[in-house]
């Protein structure tokens, strides 16, 4: 292979897309490292503090597409203070300064400002695609700059962001010459939408495949949009409507009938059930259906719709569908690969008879042979059910089970769920992601350490008895990358047993566990290549550092550690101490 000219090797590398593979290639030899890095266009950075933008640019001069992730996963559940960090601005500044030909930017859990978006929109002439997931810190003004200045924008995808809506005219800011849009998702915007501007934009975007609108787009506007974009593949609906009158309903249904390419449907927040029925003409074509925000649509309506969706591969739904509904899914959706069942009642105020149980899960596992990913919120579980599920579905890659009440045992035997989860990890040899819940002892972690050879991400809450639990996982799971633990009795012994293990992991999160300040300090001393962050909202930096030896025994509320090649970050807020 070394006798080929570089151009030939580079051409061969072009066929290798996956980040993992390209990273492996770059380790083979110096010359391969150089060819690989000079030709690399797409880079994925799972932790924005593991490296800095200058080093990134230096290594990958041909960078076109950058993916960055900021806050740790538990930030989703309000366990990370708002001001923690994850700012994208320094990255955009550096990329702009180095005149990188950036075309794509994908951010998850990062803080984005209007200033950042403005700079982005002015600095990269070929910029095509902006995807923001669970980000915050910007307003519709920032969107206006992107719309106005990115002449080649194809994709603007805003998923679940906190965006301050200035009710401006950002949609009007797309110039008339902008006709390249393929994907537009503004479903998370809370304010009003200029419907005329939206309709004009959609009408002049013949390549538009994905359109997800927000709540402020009513049914008649949706009808008009669908009429001028029958080529849509992916549609997000989101509009309040009482039962629409006969005429509007017929018009909507007619427009939908023409959307023969439609494969993916989502939205439906605050939408009357009748609106769902307008989609009957195309439901047998659907491969993806997200009704997890449709709290208004009751189980029976959902079931009636889903029983026609025979080609469904992905289904996100609320637990109001019930076990009976899941049985219908199991008998209808034989192509199902991914299922997410979210809780509809977060306050436990109502007597929730329709929440799902182990019965629904077993039915799905029996009926859907291609299932590989599941997220399941339920009120109860049994070992027997989990053992059956493991037998039925040995192909799970992602298995996330959340029993709503922490520490809940098997409801038929009152035993822990160690055996059930043990069966899952033993049968599912390809399991990469696992979340456990219910009553669990150290034994479940023994099983995980023993069997979960491919496990990369593990989420633990209210589980285990002693440090041994965490040690089984750290010692056994060779491919572990992200470990996140809350409210479990793991302490310094487990944290410090094998410091080098953290070289092979992206990050570790521990909150409300038994680790102490002294333990964390010791870890930080022994592992200078780690950033060991203590998050304590009740104190500030100075108090922390003045503590005497006594306080070394004080338990740490939240610990977040991650490997990094650039040392302690300089943008940490007062509530974060980097040891």
């Amino acid at each position: 292979m070394n006798y080929f000219p570089d151009e030939v090797i580079e051409h061969i590398f072009d066929f290798i897309a996956s980040h993992k593979d390209r990273n492996s290639i770059s380790l083979v030899s110096k010359s391969w490292h150089k060819i690989e890095r000079c030709s690399r266009k797409r880079v994925f950075i799972g932790n924005c503090y593991a490296i800095n933008p200058e080093r990134l640019i230096e290594r990958f001069p041909s960078l076109r597409s950058l993916t960055l992730k900021g806050k740790p996963h538990f930030a989703d559940f309000n366990l990370v203070p708002h001001e923690w960090g994850g700012f994208v601005h320094p990255w955009i500044v550096a990329l702009a300064k180095a005149r990188v030909g950036l075309e794509e930017l994908r951010l998850k859990r990062m803080v984005v400002s209007d200033e950042s978006l403005e700079l982005l929109s002015r600095s990269f002439a070929s910029f095509k695609s902006l995807v923001l997931v669970s980000c915050e810190g910007f307003t519709t003004d920032g969107l206006a700059s992107v719309a106005a200045n990115c002449r080649h924008l194809c994709e603007l995808d805003l998923q679940e962001n906190e965006i301050e809506d200035h009710r401006g005219q950002w949609l009007n800011c797309f110039p008339e010459s902008s006709t390249a849009l393929t994907s537009l998702n503004f479903s998370c915007l809370k304010g009003e939408t200029n419907l005329a501007a939206l309709e004009r934009l959609v009408a002049r975007s013949p390549n538009l495949e994905s359109l997800k609108v927000n709540r402020a787009v009513p049914l008649d506007a949706l009808t008009r949009l669908l009429s001028c974009a029958p080529q849509l593949v992916d549609l997000g609906v989101g509009s309040y409507e009482n039962e629409p009158d006969q005429e509007s309903f017929v018009k909507l249904m007619d427009a939908i009938k023409k959307c023969t390419s439609l494969r993916s449907l989502s939205g439906f927040s605050e939408v009357a059930p009748l609106c769902l029925t307008a989609f009957y003409p195309i439901c047998q074509n659907l491969t993806s259906l997200n009704l997890s925000y449709a709290a208004e649509i009751q189980g029976n309506h959902l079931i009636r719709f889903i029983q026609f969706c025979k080609r469904l591969q992905r289904l996100w739904i609320l637990d109001s569908i019930g076990d009976k509904g899941l049985e219908v899914v199991a008998s209808t959706c034989k192509e199902l690969q991914e299922l997410r069942v979210f809780p509809s009642d977060l306050h436990d105020e109502e007597d929730n008879d329709t929440a799902v149980t182990e019965i629904g899960l077993v039915a799905i596992s029996a009926g859907c042979p291609k299932l590989h990913s599941i997220l399941y919120f339920c009120k109860q579980m049994t070992n027997a059910a989990l053992i059956t599920v493991a037998k039925n579905c040995p192909n799970f890659i992602r298995f996330r089970l959340c029993i709503l009440e922490p520490n809940k045992p098997d409801h038929t035997t009152s035993q822990s769920l160690d055996e059930g989860f043990g069966a899952i990890v033993q049968a599912c040899k390809g399991l990469r992601r696992l979340s456990v819940s219910g009553l669990l002892t150290d034994k479940v972690f023994l099983y995980i350490g023993m069997y979960a050879e491919q496990l990369e991400m593990l989420s633990i809450a209210f589980a285990g008895d002693t440090d041994k639990g965490m040690l089984y996982v750290l010692n056994g799971c060779k491919k572990m990358r992200k470990l996140e633990i809350r409210d479990s009795p793991f302490g310094n012994a487990a944290l410090l047993a094998d410091v080098d293990k953290y070289r092979t992991m992206r990050s570790l999160w521990m909150s409300s566990c038994e680790v102490t300040l002294g333990g964390c300090k010791r870890l930080a001393r022994n592992a200078p290549w780690l950033n060991v962050e203590i998050i304590n909202e009740n104190e500030n930096n100075d108090l922390m550092m003045e503590r005497n030896e006594e306080d070394e025994r004080e338990k740490v509320d939240r610990l977040y550690l991650y490997r990094t090649v650039v040392g302690a970050r300089k943008d940490a807020p007062p509530c974060v101490t980097i040891l």
Partner: protein, 194 residues
């Protein structure tokens, strides 16, 4: 679950009642919620030590699961945007959803903050910035809109007929509908439940 020849005696599974040694070691959910009001770690320690009595306390006064921060693990965006989070659907208390024909948004209002139908009329006017609604309630036949509500039984009734107290107890949601549409809507006739 035994692998041939492997002795799995590492942990002793004790299935005792709360208050046994096992509960002492593990920082159970019940201890956590008893001490979750402060996030001072000193409190946590005392919680572990006296777990027996804390567990008993928990049994006496059941604490809602939602008091635990970040549990269940549903992301905050989803929490904020799921309808049940946004408004209580309990009949007679708190907020009800109000819709008006032609307006793409739902509004919520607190029925409890109004003293009577006049108050309600005023509040509705303010909510939608439209002066006709109040008139509808007071002087039904002369107005472009009618105000109807869905009661406990799922029936749609004309607002203003029953005594105020009875109204706020049974009203689940409100709708301001065009009079022209109301004719074929299937409103329950007046006086049906008196």
């Amino acid at each position: 679950m035994e692998k041939g020849g492997l002795e799995l005696e590492i942990t002793e599974l004790r299935l005792g009642l709360p208050g046994t040694e096992k509960m002492m070691k593990k920082r159970g959910f019940t201890e956590m919620i008893m001490t979750s009001s402060g996030s001072n770690s000193n409190q946590c320690e005392s919680g572990v030590v006296s777990s027996g009595c804390d567990v008993e306390k928990a049994n006496e006064s059941p604490v809602a699961k939602s008091q635990v921060v970040g549990w269940p693990p549903v992301c905050s965006y989803r929490r904020k945007n799921s309808c049940k989070e946004v408004s209580t659907t309990r009949v007679g208390l708190g907020y009800v959803k109000v819709s008006m024909d032609g307006v793409p948004y739902l509004r919520k209002m607190d029925l409890g903050s109004s003293q009577g139908y006049d108050d309600l009329a005023f509040a509705l006017d303010k909510l939608f910035g439209f002066h006709g609604i109040g008139v509808a309630l007071k002087d039904g036949d002369n107005c472009e809109y009618v105000t109807i509500y869905e009661d406990k039984d799922g029936d749609w009734m004309l607002a203003g007929d029953v005594p105020w107290g009875m109204f706020i107890e049974s009203c689940k949601r409100l709708r301001i509908m065009k009079r022209s549409d109301a004719a074929g809507f299937g409103l329950q006739p007046r006086g049906v439940d008196e």
